[in-house]
């Protein structure tokens, strides 16, 4: 049974600009955002039978809704994020409280060792990948690798529009990889090719990558992704996945989509 941590968008909005998607002038239609969020939750709970843990939203923390960046959870341990931008650093204490309150052993990283949680750490059961340069610091991965006894291949994110690894890279349950190659340099692309066989790679087209097709949530053979990505859906269906597209464009104004709005708990 999959459990996801989510946070209702009561205070979601654009109050600062910390990625190329965010424009203070591009106002969020709050009512629409709330509807889209509930639509997403409905798919998880009703269609996929996912258990949702809901955090209490906090006024003044508009991005708390993006729980993928709370940290990373491995078994009963939670490593809490250290955000690069001060605007999001205030979220850390709330995420930490939530993990402690729910019985997780909490690991905190030294200050200035930036790490933005499951936004930048994704993987297959035996091999993880860490996105760095835009938000997380590459030096965090050796620490996590040692703690969790997993190989972590660092991948430099070279396009600021794809500022977290989960915006351009989505490992799927069957060993397949949905990703957008141009978000990585040639070193990163070669490293990916070394770990994921060619027939398991599902590269998404440019226009859909920019609609955050890769910011998808995979639950068993189901993949939940933002609407407007028919080619990606076709790729997934051809590999035997069932796709569930959800309109999430209000969250795209902030540079987030389906995956950013969830954190896998176990």
């Amino acid at each position: 049974m999959t459990r996801l941590l989510v946070c209702p968008p009561d205070y979601f909005g654009i109050e600062y600009e910390i990625n190329p998607w965010m424009r203070l002038s591009n106002r969020v239609d709050h009512e629409r955002a709330v509807q889209q969020w509930h639509g997403l939750m409905r798919v998880f709970e009703q269609d996929l039978g996912v258990t949702l843990e809901r955090m209490t939203p906090v006024a003044g923390l508009p991005d708390l809704v993006f729980t993928a960046n709370a940290g990373v959870v491995v078994d009963c341990t939670a490593v809490v994020s250290r955000f690069r931008y001060p605007e999001r650093q205030r979220e850390e204490a709330y995420f930490e409280d939530w993990f402690r309150g729910h019985g997780y052993a909490v690991v905190t990283l030294e200050k200035a060792l930036f790490f933005e949680g499951a936004g930048d750490l994704l993987g297959f059961p035996d091999c993880w990948f860490g996105g760095y340069r835009q938000r997380s610091d590459i030096r965090v991965f050796p620490h996590l690798s040692e703690r969790f006894h997993r190989e972590i291949i660092p991948l430099e994110l070279v396009d600021s529009r794809f500022y977290h690894l989960d915006t351009c890279f989505c490992p799927l349950s069957g060993g397949d990889l949905l990703y957008f190659p141009p978000a990585f340099d040639s070193y990163g692309q070669s490293a990916i090719v070394q770990r994921v066989p060619k027939d398991r790679q599902l590269p998404v087209p440019d226009d859909e990558a920019l609609r955050f097709a890769c910011n998808a949530v995979c639950v068993g053979k189901h993949v939940v992704l933002p609407s407007g990505c028919p080619a990606t859906e076709h790729l997934l269906q051809a590999r035997g996945y069932r796709t569930h597209s959800v309109p999430l464009d209000e969250f795209m104004k902030s540079g987030g989509s389906a995956k950013c709005l969830t954190l896998a708990l176990d």
């Binding site: 035996d126 091999c127 760095y132 340069r133 590459i138 030096r139 991965f141 050796p142 690798s145 040692e146 006894h149 997993r150 190989e151 972590i152 291949i153 660092p154 991948l155 430099e156 340099d185 070193y187 990163g188 070669s190 490293a191 070394q194 770990r195």
Partner: protein
């Protein structure tokens, strides 16, 4: 090109991710150079790898730019600390954990400043003076109780050799030894260096001396005249040898034999085996080699040339020596000291036909001194490089042929 360098560390899954390759590419693409040190590759997928990279650049600005460019990929400057020192517990004994030197240029960090270690030589310790401002390499036997000796590895850095500007055989800095490699170009390059150094020496430049360390096979093989000529023409400025080279050289002058063999006739001369003993006895009676030459008893040869041309000779004795000749230092620690004291200013070393003197001299030479080791037996140059003198170019050939060819290239008529 003045070089600036910094050591960085990088760790994690840096191999399969190609992060290490990326960092090295960045260094090269920006115009820097690097040496990979202490590369440890994880033995399992989970185990991280790590590498120490020494980065060199032609200016501090370029070095800073490179460091800034690689820092986001996890390559961080090694934390710099002052070196640690401890007092020598007794005369002739280093503290535990003393830093053992290499013969490469070495610096230590004292009070936040990097200073050069003077008189560098392999297998010594580093003594810091009482004010903590200068440091030099020091043999174990020379340390006095309470002397401050560098311990551990923090705050010590060793600079790899730069390729010399000269595009000659020494530029390759490889001590591959083979009797099947052509000799001529090596001897030509040695001759070119000697010509250059003689010029510098004549102009009074301190750092332009040529050292020759040789064994008696030079005399037996027929290289005596060529070496004498090289000394007389001002191409050799310092001679290291043992009792035998000097004894047989003067035996040749007094009796025309070398260890009893007629040098001209090429056969054993009746009672010839006594000649070197009679030679040694005669010089002992006179009191010194200098006196034997200046009084006209010894007229020709290597020792005579050294005396007449003020070429210092350090003669180190061994346990099989006859006599020995006056001037031979029989205490090997004192002999080592005398050789060490004579080394500064040497810019080319020729180690010819002597295992003992070649290895002993190799031990004392900084890696920055171009060195040629000539022996008919390949094991001698191999032994020299195995013992750390990697800068030595090995030449498997007979001493007389080498010296004659060298002299010919430097203008001696055949």
């Amino acid at each position: 090109m003045s070089l600036h360098q910094e050591t960085v560390l990088i760790s994690g899954h840096i191999i399969d991710s190609l992060i290490l390759a990326k960092v090295l590419d960045i260094i090269l693409m920006m115009g820097g150079a690097f040496d990979l040190e202490d590369v440890h590759i994880g033995t399992t997928r989970e185990e991280p790898s790590r590498a120490r990279i020494v980065i060199r650049a032609s200016s501090t600005t370029l070095l800073d730019d490179i460091l800034k460019a690689i820092q986001p990929h996890g390559a961080c400057a090694e934390r710099e600390a002052d070196c640690r020192t401890a007092e020598a517990p007794a005369d002739g004994i280093f503290p535990d954990d003393f830093y053992a030197t290499t013969h490469l240029p070495t610096q230590i960090r004292l009070h936040g400043q990097w200073i050069d270690v003077d008189r560098i030589e392999m297998d010594l310790g580093i003594l810091v003076d009482t004010r903590g401002t200068v440091a030099h390499a020091l043999p174990m036997g020379d340390v006095r109780q309470g002397g401050r000796i560098v311990v551990g590895r923090d705050g010590v850095r060793v600079t790899p050799l730069q390729r010399p500007r000269e595009r000659d055989v020494f530029g390759f800095m490889e001590s591959q030894v083979s009797s099947e490699r052509p000799h001529h170009h090596i001897i030509t390059d040695v001759a070119a260096r000697m010509r250059q150094l003689r010029e510098g020496h004549r102009q009074g430049q301190a750092d332009s001396r040529v050292l020759l360390a040789g064994g008696p096979a030079i005399i037996h093989a027929g290289g005596r005249d060529a070496l004498t000529w090289l000394i007389e023409q001002g191409f050799v400025h310092l001679l290291f040898c043992g009792n035998a080279l000097a004894a047989h050289d003067m035996e040749a002058d007094l009796y025309g034999t070398s260890l009893g063999y007629g040098l001209a006739a090429g056969r054993a001369v009746p009672h010839g085996h006594e000649h070197h003993l009679r030679t040694i006895n005669k010089i002992r009676a006179i009191g010194s080699i200098d006196a034997a030459v200046t009084s006209g008893v010894v007229k020709q040869g290597i020792m005579a040339a050294c005396v007449r041309h003020n070429v210092p000779v350090v003669m180190a004795g061994t346990i099989r020596d006859d006599g020995p000749l006056p001037g031979v230092i029989t205490d090997s620690v004192l002999a080592q000291k005398a050789m060490r004291a004579a080394i500064p200013g040497v810019r080319l070393a020729l180690l010819v036909a002597s295992t003992l003197h070649a290895v002993a001299t190799g031990n004392l030479l900084p890696a920055t001194v171009p060195t040629v080791c000539v022996d008919v037996n390949p094991s001698v140059p191999i032994k020299l490089s195995d013992r750390g003198s990697f800068q030595a170019v090995g030449l498997v050939m007979d001493a007389a042929s080498f010296l004659s060819e060298l002299a010919r290239l430097l203008g001696r008529s055949a």
